[in-house]
Symmetry: C2
């Protein structure tokens, strides 16, 4: 099965857990709309790419890891769109969960998805149940209130924001969780993969800031100019457009340099190239702001 099919199939199985007449119907619909149709599914793709590089010895457990990080990501988007954060009406080209189902069900859908992410891990068939503890810890820390995405969001409510810690927590932490979990599920040392994922996560966050500043609303399917509007720290404010662009290219190099020796190293390098290519703003978008840049 292709990676995208594995991911969608794992997410469908996850959402089916406990679905039925016992579930309040509007909550069920909100949960579904929070997860389908998806965006780039880049975190579960990272999990699958790392697993493949490590030999993919535990495909069912890796599918659970991939689904778990994506469920958490979807939960964070639903909460992030709430009026008390971004107050966003649109996400992925459709009305946001709280616009359709109300703020109360949006809060609950996010909570339910976080709980479900751990349940999915604990239910996954595996030859190595002793790996569950490390998987749960990695996922919890990716979400967590210290260096996880909860901390990342919370930095926005502080008067002083350390940009690197903010970005690493807001975006990097869940990328790191995806890669660490895939490595742990395969019995591989997670430490080099954490570095690879941290670089990809930072590149991804900078790309998001670039897209927000350059304003491809159509491509993002969500409102743009949010960083400026909410006075949020942004890599574009810090590095400028050219600096942000150059930083993404540098991070690709950092990620490649951190790759450990493994059976699927070549595949992962190719995958990394494609991901970073997609992150860079189009020449058209750059031309609109009178900017000319070169990737190499």
């Amino acid at each position: 099965m292709s990676a995208p099919n594995r991911i969608e199939s794992a997410l469908k199985s996850a959402l089916a857990l406990g679905d039925g007449p016992a579930r309040p119907p509007r909550l069920g619909a909100a949960l579904h709309d929070a997860v389908f149709p998806g965006g780039g599914r880049v975190r579960p793709q990272l999990a699958l790419a790392v697993a493949r590089a490590c030999g993919d010895h535990e495909p069912a457990l890796v599918d659970a890891c991939a689904a778990a990080v994506e469920l958490v990501h979807c939960a964070s988007l639903v909460h992030d769109d709430l009026p008390c954060f971004d107050d966003a009406d649109w996400r992925r080209g459709r009305p946001t969960v709280h616009r359709v189902y109300g703020e109360n069900l949006a809060v609950l859908a996010g909570d339910g998805l976080i709980a479900l992410s751990f349940e999915v891990l604990a239910r996954a068939p595996t030859l190595h149940p002793e790996r569950l503890g490390a998987l749960v810890r990695a996922l919890a820390q990716g979400i967590g209130a210290s260096k996880g995405l909860v901390a990342g969001q919370a930095w926005e409510a502080e008067p002083q924001v350390p940009l690197a810690a903010y970005h690493r927590a807001k975006t990097g932490a869940l990328f790191e969780a995806a890669a660490v979990m895939a490595a742990v599920a395969n019995g591989a040392d997670p430490r080099p993969w954490k570095k690879v994922a941290a670089a990809i996560g930072e590149a991804y966050q900078i790309a998001d800031d670039l897209a927000d500043a350059l304003g491809h609303a159509g491509a993002l399917g969500k409102p743009v100019g949010q960083d400026l509007q909410h006075a949020r720290p942004s890599a574009v404010h810090t590095f400028g457009l050219e600096g942000a662009f150059a930083r993404i290219v540098a991070l690709r190099g950092e990620a490649e340099a951190a790759l450990p020796e493994c059976p699927g190293r070549g595949h992962l390098t190719d995958w990394l190239g494609r991901v970073v290519e997609r992150l860079l703003p189009s020449e058209q978008a750059l031309a609109q702001v009178g900017c000319q840049l070169h990737a190499s």
Copy 2:
């Protein structure tokens, strides 16, 4: 160490995980205020009572289970108090988390506490790491979007509410998780303990409805009359005051009848009696509404 001390100590250790300069300070304060000072701590008390009845062979793991269910309970209170739910200004006699720190940090504090609850489980020292899967599943289902407390809250957003399913999910599910986790941690069969906990949970929910209807604002430390104000299903509307009172007494009998043979059966029966005694409204409160009831 006494049960209350074990619980407070386990919660302090949990909150200390990842505390430090990496944590956004206002989020850290919100997390602390969501958990301390506590309310009745009845769910972790149930976990410890069940563990004691089962021999308390794994005290560190049980402490983690007790802390985990209480963290989830605290998370649910923080989210439940939000303007899109109860819009409560007071909880346990103090301003609610969102009133002090804002709605955004209240949402994040709840999310962070849910993630922390799983991390605490996965970090607990134990001789039986193979039990973690069942513990994570039990906790996730207690929170969950099918029959857990998320589902319970979500029933309030449906036009048709099945009262038994609503109460069991909103309150019973986390009581059941507490008892099941304590039994599993001790290697005991969790099924009879689930029945015991379901009866206690239902009694607790009916007592909460009674307190809300009778209006001991002082005793509860939170607003009363919320069920009527929010048009929520309430055992008092369904059974009447006398019927609700009688149901609590009957549930004590159901819980006692479900107790399995175990070393600490006598202790648990005593504990149950004390808990139910505290749940019943005082004669004074009943006299104020012109109602005379007898427990037996």
